[in-house]
């Protein structure tokens, strides 16, 4: 009990610091709609600056091989025990394109990264330092009631993780990793229900809130994934007007082909996930194991 209290106390004491960092981050990197900042070089930001009445109704996902994602705070728990570990982790992360700032909290084994880098890239870099790393939070929870969400596809054939994170009021980042798909193009979408009673067949239509009914395509249309010869597909990009809070409890669906007229072949519920500063758990109190003791097979989906 004393041990648990100690952990809880430490976590609680640290959260204000995390929030302070978030506040500092907010002031250092004001949101694009407020004042000029490096993101103004992105076409997307120019679009956002257009007066509301002239906003494009096109909600297409934006993704190109070298597209820059909007900046976001991402938190990992990393198995660090000494200052040398901190330096190794910082050095490794600072080598990555898109990383703007790295903060390390050794006592909580937390690494907080500000940047445009995809989760997959950051995770791989952390593991290259030889230390276990676990994604524990994304977004800026003080700005949004729900800033992050995740859908997990757990087989039997198709595995994947789709992460959604709110960047600002008008924009969400989407990152996806899939394996087990047939090679070629697959449509994918956010559907209105997270009802997997009959798999993808019971998830309803593509999500399209009432105020979007005049748009050319439903807000939940995510376009097309391209699976390589090994059946893997990766996506990172942004979508305008997507609000993570409105998606909780709905589903991500993947289709057999580019066309979405048939039921999807697999679906996963969009679940709440921790924002930055919301998840400093290290001890799994249900069975007493620590986050590091968990076997690697428990992470099969997060490594997909």
């Amino acid at each position: 009990m004393a041990f648990l209290r100690s952990i809880a106390t430490t976590a609680i004491a640290t959260i204000p610091a995390a929030l302070a960092f978030s506040s500092s981050s907010s002031s250092s990197f004001p949101r694009s709609s407020q004042s000029p900042n490096p993101q103004n070089r992105l076409g997307l930001v120019k679009t956002l600056a257009t007066p509301p009445s002239a906003l494009h109704m096109d909600h297409k996902l934006s993704s190109q091989p070298d597209a820059v994602l909007p900046e976001l705070l991402t938190e990992f728990m990393v198995d660090m025990k000494c200052e040398g570990c901190v330096n190794a982790v910082k050095n490794k992360l600072n080598e990555i394109n898109g990383v703007k700032n790295v903060e390390v909290d050794l006592s909580n084994q937390v690494v907080r990264i500000l940047g445009s880098t995809p989760v997959k890239t950051m995770t791989e870099a952390l593991e290259q330092t030889g230390r276990k790393a676990r994604l524990i939070g994304q977004g800026v929870p003080e700005d949004f009631l729900i800033s992050a969400a995740v859908s997990e596809f757990k087989g039997p054939d198709i595995f994947g993780v789709v992460r959604l994170a709110q960047v600002n009021m008008e924009l969400a980042r989407i990152e996806a990793n899939f394996s087990g798909l047939s090679p070629g193009k697959h449509g994918w979408s956010i559907n209105e229900f997270g009802d997997l009673t009959r798999g993808a067949a019971s998830t309803g239509k593509m999500f399209n809130p009432v105020n979007e009914e005049n748009s050319k395509e439903p807000l939940g249309d995510l376009g097309t994934l391209e699976a390589n010869e090994k059946g893997e597909a990766f996506y990172s990009g942004v979508k305008e007007k997507l609000r993570v809070a409105d998606l909780i409890g709905r589903s991500v669906v993947v289709y057999a082909t580019e066309d979405k007229s048939e039921h999807g072949i697999t679906a996963a519920v969009i679940a709440r996930s921790a924002g930055v500063g919301e998840n400093y758990k290290k001890l799994c109190t249900c069975d007493g194991t620590t986050i590091w003791e968990a076997t690697d097979t428990d992470f099969v989906t997060s490594k997909v």
């Binding site: 524990i136 229900f193 409890g249 519920v269 194991t289 986050i291 968990a294 428990d298």
Partner: protein, 167 residues
């Protein structure tokens, strides 16, 4: 979350290690009570802790004894209380007590509770419902974990609560 017009319903498909499977339906009544019904099969005989956890993000596994399980966040506890029984004033909102499996390994579930809404800021949509290996001691077991988790042991199955069509 924005409430759908009319009734709000939720559903969770429960999957766990080995042959544990189940399906749960959630229906919110106008009087503020949410009714949970369903069944879970493949359990060992006896009581199993049954909780709603704060996050439905199960990508960070944290369970070395149950390979196919993974760990949602801690119990859903928006009012920061100690773990307890469903009937206690001091309880996590997500503390639903125990479900009981018979000799056939089947637990039939019918629970009514006022702290697990399907709408509003404390909605349970998108959170994880978890079945544990052991009985929940309802905070009274005297174990160091009693006040946090009911000392209910490993998580053997879970599912994410999704929105269901209300028609």
């Amino acid at each position: 979350m924005e409430a759908a017009k009319g009734t709000v319903k939720g559903v969770a498909i429960i999957i766990g290690d080995n042959n544990i499977r189940g399906s749960l339906q959630f229906l919110q009544h106008p009087n503020g009570t949410t009714h949970v019904t369903g069944r879970v099969t493949g359990l060992s005989q006896g009581f199993h802790g049954f909780h709603i956890h704060a996050f439905g993000d199960t990508t960070n596994g944290c369970n070395s004894t149950v390979l196919t399980s993974s760990t949602p966040g801690p119990h859903f506890n928006p009012f920061k209380k100690d773990h307890g029984a469903p009937s206690d004033d001091k309880r996590h909102a997500g503390d639903l007590g125990n479900i009981a499996a018979g000799p056939d390994g089947v637990a039939e579930i019918s629970i009514r509770d006022r702290q697990i809404p399907l709408t509003g800021v404390h909605s349970i949509i998108g959170r994880a419902v978890v079945v544990h290996a052991d009985p929940d001691d309802l905070g009274r077991g005297g174990h160091e974990l009693s006040k946090t988790t009911g000392n209910a042991g490993a998580r053997v199955a879970c599912g994410i609560i999704g929105l269901q069509s209300s028609v």
